[in-house]
Chain length 244, copies 2
């Protein structure tokens, strides 16, 4: 915490308002980073020599404004701006996040071999029953979960994809090892649902909150369908941008 | 109701299953149209000379499959396929709906003159405080509400827009009367929220269901920003398609 601001009890401005302005200034200057935890009420109260109720009133006002958000049991956080997620021919998670000066992360949370049902067979244009490898991933921005994704590829075409993904932590890199130098998005379908219990846990959102569903199919340079993906995205943390 | 199917009590297939198959066939053939109300349990029971419990079991099975949906107090409906809504440079509601052999509809539900706040001024690239005309519309597909929209234009540029809209029931036509022969989408931003009480009433969805938020700005042929819109769409009734 910086020490610039001193509460002025004779200024004709309520002390809680002065504290709210101080928090606002620290957020604006980046001293309190977006997405980070605010100091506790007690810490702020001690910093200014005021009581906790005064601090609480300031925090309540800023929460109502959407600058802060309470995360039950974890504290008060500086609201992060939603990730702006452009959908273009080459939509790459890491590049998108990095270009916004944010830190991408991700992990493989599961995998399976599945027979293509009618829906998957349709997306990938393979016969029903074709063996597919499914990768389940969790994508994170600045340490906050953003999306849970499942991606399916033909197992016979990418026999080492799981190992390659584990070694590179990138589907783009793993597909490249599998001989696909580049891929482009054919189509994305967007809908919304309420989060289910599993995704709520993974995304760290409350039950009853909406998730955006993004379904997409990717093509290799020859125009062949190589991957179908279905991502569930915490709606409060993203804004999808469709440029013309 | 067609009279093709006769229940065969000696066929070794439970009667409720035969009734379910009959409903399924009627839906597939279009006799029971998507979005329409199914005949009542009593009507179906009388049609086949079975009791209502048998019909109820068939309906329950089809509801579990997603082919039928119960609408409390209104009856059982044939589930409508979500509207497929492509976002392209020229996204026109009526054309999109008509191309899917569905019936578009709409109405003006409100209008106002507002001073541009910072957000609207930014979208339309006009000074804060500029007088804007806001049109609130409800768009309907096959008689079912799909989206509630608000659109803002500069009042000074389109002084007769409200009258023109009322006469044509089309924003595209009204803008054309205002001298804009054509317009293209510059950008669309998509997010999701829970429906609010007003929109739940207009969209005829339950509180706690998600709506997709589509924000877009349109350009005239000279590339000038002429309209900003913010639509809230019943998520269960739409699938947004972003082609490459």
């Amino acid at each position: 915490m910086t020490q610039r601001v001193i509460i002025d009890r004779g200024a004709g401005i309520a002390v809680w308002r002065q504290i709210a302005e101080w928090v606002r200034a620290e957020v604006a200057s980046g001293t309190f980073e977006q997405g980070s935890r605010l100091p506790t009420e007690t810490e702020i109260a001690e910093r200014f020599g005021v009581n906790r109720h005064t601090v609480r009133r300031a925090i309540a006002a800023l929460t109502a404004e959407g600058i802060l958000r309470a995360d039950q049991g974890r504290g008060t956080f500086v609201t992060a701006q939603p990730v702006s997620y452009p959908i273009t021919a080459r939509t790459r998670f890491s590049e998108i996040i990095t270009s916004q000066s944010r830190e991408p992360g991700g992990s493989l949370i599961g995998s399976a071999v599945e027979e293509a049902d009618a829906l998957l067979a349709g997306w990938l244009e393979v016969p029903v029953g074709t063996l597919l490898l499914r990768l389940d991933t969790l994508s994170v921005v600045d340490g906050v979960p953003l999306m849970v994704g499942a991606a399916w590829v033909e197992q016979a075409r990418f026999p080492n994809l799981l190992r390659d993904y584990a070694e590179t932590n990138s589907l783009t890199a793993a597909l490249k090892r599998g001989g696909v130098e580049d891929y482009t998005r054919k189509e994305t379908r967007i809908s919304a649902e309420l989060v289910d219990a599993d995704d709520a846990r993974l995304l760290e959102v409350a039950l009853g909150t909406p998730v955006l569903i993004m379904e997409s199919v990717n093509l290799d340079p020859d125009g062949r369908r190589i991957q179908y993906g279905r991502a569930r995205v915490a709606a409060e943390r993203i804004q999808i941008v469709v440029p013309n």
